[in-house]
């Protein structure tokens, strides 16, 4: 009986080739477009995000350092002064920042132009800069002084270009990391411990991870992104069909045949689950044949696909039950036109936004598609089941909650015209 319901849906899909095309071919085309267009950015080479920073420094650091040394000489014991003087090369704040910017790893990722403060107004007007960093007067002197004698540390003035939100958040988090390092250094210096060399190394490493968090290929990323997004459309499409069955009276026929509504309900759930599984497998198979994307652990891959399909099956009955309850396709329409796109953006189907904005990463993992995406990427990176267990649990839990809500909404009997 349930099998009949699933089989019939298969026939209906086959009779609607345009729909099949939308569900299978479109995601593949999107993978090709997104994969090639954005691969540069993802692989860290010529960044289409063009993170460009203007760095404005009003006076040289050397003079400030000389002034600093002259001023502290009297205040400090001779050995301490000798120590500072010896290590000063590693403690220069502006030089340190510059050396980080100029390091090879960061250069691939952020382009920094060193300019004069007199050019500031033009730069602010120029839209190609993501941020402008200004070093205030006496910055190095003040910072070094607070390191030795305490007090409030001076800050860099950063102006963000609000139109470049993603880039802005990347640079903001980059600078926050640097700041943390300096604060740490500041603290350590006060304790008489000299760690500047180590700190800079550590800092570099952290910045590099931003860039190297995605060692997987852009096409792999977008194959997964498009699969987890487009599978959501299966839930919508099948809930359309289910509601149509109510509208034309087929659902009533099924009820009058004394088939329990729960049999029908289960049929809709399994239809959603099975067809989303098939859709995912077809697109992945294509990506394997054409892009050569293969899975290091096929068992885990299948496990994630089943869990994800389970969540989509839940979504299918959830949408269907609400349509039945409200006697309109409104919910499905809303889902297809708005929610899917929102979920896809949050879940990182278009852009690995979570890598740059950690808050969105955790939100993304609370969406079925984002959770599926994270799990798939972990598998591609060669991680084991422990790394994806949270995602798996979320997917199964999400599916169960959807089913539960659907059960509570589903109509008790047949439906009148």
């Amino acid at each position: 009986m349930i099998w009949q319901i699933i089989k019939k849906q298969g026939l209906l899909f086959l009779r609607n080739p345009q729909q099949l095309l939308l569900l299978i071919a479109l995601p593949i085309i999107l993978v090709m477009i997104l994969g090639t267009a954005l691969s540069g950015m993802m692989n860290g080479s010529s960044s289409p995000l063009s993170l460009k920073i203007a760095f404005l420094e009003s006076e040289g650091e050397e003079e400030q350092v000389k002034a600093f040394l002259a001023d502290v000489k009297e205040q400090l014991p001779v050995e301490a002064f000798a120590e500072i003087e010896a290590n000063l090369g590693n403690m220069l704040p502006v030089s340190t920042i510059k050396s980080v910017f100029d390091s090879e790893e960061v250069r691939d990722f952020i382009e920094v132009e060193y300019l004069k403060p007199s050019e500031r107004n033009e730069i602010i007007k120029d839209d190609s800069y993501t941020a402008v960093i200004e070093v205030p007067k006496n910055f190095s002197y003040d910072l070094l002084t607070t390191m030795i004698v305490g007090g409030t540390a001076p800050t860099l003035k950063v102006t963000y270009n609000e139109e470049k939100q993603v880039g802005t958040s990347i640079i903001a988090s980059f600078l926050t990391q640097m700041q943390n390092q300096f604060t740490k250094q500041n603290f350590l210096a006060q304790q008489g411990i000299q760690l500047s060399e180590l700190a800079v190394e550590e800092m570099k490493a952290e910045i590099v991870t931003v860039n190297e968090k995605n060692p997987i290929e852009a096409t792999s990323y977008y194959t997964i992104g498009m699969v987890v997004m487009n599978v959501l459309f299966i839930a919508g499409a099948i809930s359309y069909y289910a509601f149509h069955e109510k509208q034309i009276g087929v659902f009533n026929r099924i009820i009058l045949a004394d088939v329990s509504r729960w049999v029908y309900f289960t049929g809709v759930f399994l239809t959603g689950m099975i067809f989303s599984f098939i859709q995912a497998i077809v697109i992945f198979a294509f990506s394997w044949l054409v892009f050569g994307i293969s899975w290091p652990d096929v068992g885990l891959f299948l496990l994630v696909t089943v869990a994800f399909s389970f969540a989509v099956g839940g979504l299918t009955v959830f949408l269907s039950a609400l349509n039945y309850k409200l006697n309109s396709e409104m919910i499905t329409n809303f889902f297809m036109n708005i929610i899917v796109i929102l979920l896809s953006v949050l879940g990182g189907s278009f852009f690995p936004i979570g890598d740059y904005v950690p808050a969105i990463q955790s939100m993304g993992n609370m969406t079925p598609n984002g959770s599926g995406l994270s799990a798939y990427i972990s598998i591609l990176r060669g991680e084991n089941i422990a790394a994806i267990s949270e995602n798996l649990l979320f997917l199964v839990g999400f599916g169960m909650i959807m089913i539960l809500i659907a059960v509570l909404c589903f109509p008790k009997r047949g439906v009148s015209a």
């Binding site: 209906l12 009058l256 009148s416």
Partner: protein
């Protein structure tokens, strides 16, 4: 076999069906007649266990079907008012699907599907997609699906709406044949008098949720036995004649057409000579004067003051 007891259904403030009492005996063809919105579909939805009544009961073999409709559902075949088919599947695929829903399988299923295709005259078109069918063919398939499990009671909700006359008489003949050959009980809903007159043994007439008449065809026509319907055809109508007719003490009701006037008069009236007198005095050329046998249409007009089809 089946009895409806004070069956009512209320949607918000409005009663779609109010205190409906009905019975159906085995082997009968029952007509349920009424204009659009009379409550026919609502009544049979309750009767078939599809929707729950607001109050009242449906008894099958003296047991209520409301709590446990399973046994009843097995003997009912329902032909819904709207085509309930998968338009993207073929006729055969539709029958196979619904047959399986009715727990048929294997040889039995294919035998049954063949048989139904034969009965509804779609054997040659079984591989065609329903979308491409004419309205009449869809209607026939819509009936066929309800026949797959050999129901004892076939409920048909306006099964001939919007189709050509040939398909229509094909359907009426088929229903009659089912009834005669297999003693199938039929509840036939319609707003076409002539269908119900042709098919049915007993008739229920509904209007605005209420039952307004019930009985055999003859019993119902008896309602009109106190009146005769006289149809007057003329060359050219004039107002003086109509006025004279309306004012005449014998006439109960005057309905005016283009070249025809229908009047209701008490049975014993010598209407013919009176009409001829009126025609002469108003200088009207008569073509014919007929005494019509009353139709159900007339009954409905008599009971409600409105024509059945607006």
């Amino acid at each position: 076999m089946i009895e409806l007891v004070n069956l009512s259904k209320r949607f918000k403030q409005m009663y779609a069906v109010k205190n409906l009492n009905m019975f159906i005996e085995k082997g009968e063809i029952i007509g349920l007649l009424g204009p659009n919105g009379a409550g026919k579909s609502t009544a049979i939805s309750m009767l078939s266990s599809l929707i729950e009544p607001t109050s009242g009961d449906v008894l099958y073999q003296n047991k209520s079907i409301l709590k446990n409709p399973s046994a009843f559902r097995k003997i009912v075949g329902m032909v819904p008012q709207d085509i309930a088919l998968y338009e993207d599947l073929t006729a055969e695929e539709n029958l196979m699907f619904f047959g399986r829903i009715y727990q048929l399988s294997g040889k039995e299923l294919s035998r049954k599907v063949d048989e139904v295709l034969e009965q509804i005259g779609l054997r040659d078109r079984k591989k065609d997609i329903v979308k491409k069918f004419s309205g009449g063919m869809k209607r026939r398939l819509n009936i066929g699906v309800a026949m797959l499990h050999d129901p004892e009671l076939l409920i048909m909700d306006e099964p001939t709406v919007g189709i050509d006359p040939q398909s229509r008489s094909y359907i009426l003949e088929t229903v009659k044949r089912f009834n005669e050959e297999r003693q199938m009980t039929v509840l036939y809903t319609s707003h076409y008098m002539e269908e119900v007159e042709f098919l049915c043994d007993r008739i229920y007439i509904m209007d605005k949720g209420n039952l307004i008449a019930a009985g055999t065809k003859d019993e119902i026509k008896q309602i009109l036995s106190s009146e005769n319907t006289i149809s007057i055809t003329v060359e050219r109508l004039n107002d003086a004649f109509i006025e004279a007719l309306e004012q005449h003490p014998m006439t109960n009701r005057v309905t005016i057409g283009e070249k025809e006037v229908t009047i209701l008069v008490p049975r014993e009236t010598k209407a013919f000579s009176e009409i001829i007198k009126l025609a002469e005095s108003t200088k009207l050329d008569l073509v014919s004067v007929d005494n019509k046998t009353p139709t159900l249409e007339d009954v409905f007009l008599h009971l409600t003051g409105r024509a059945l089809r607006d």
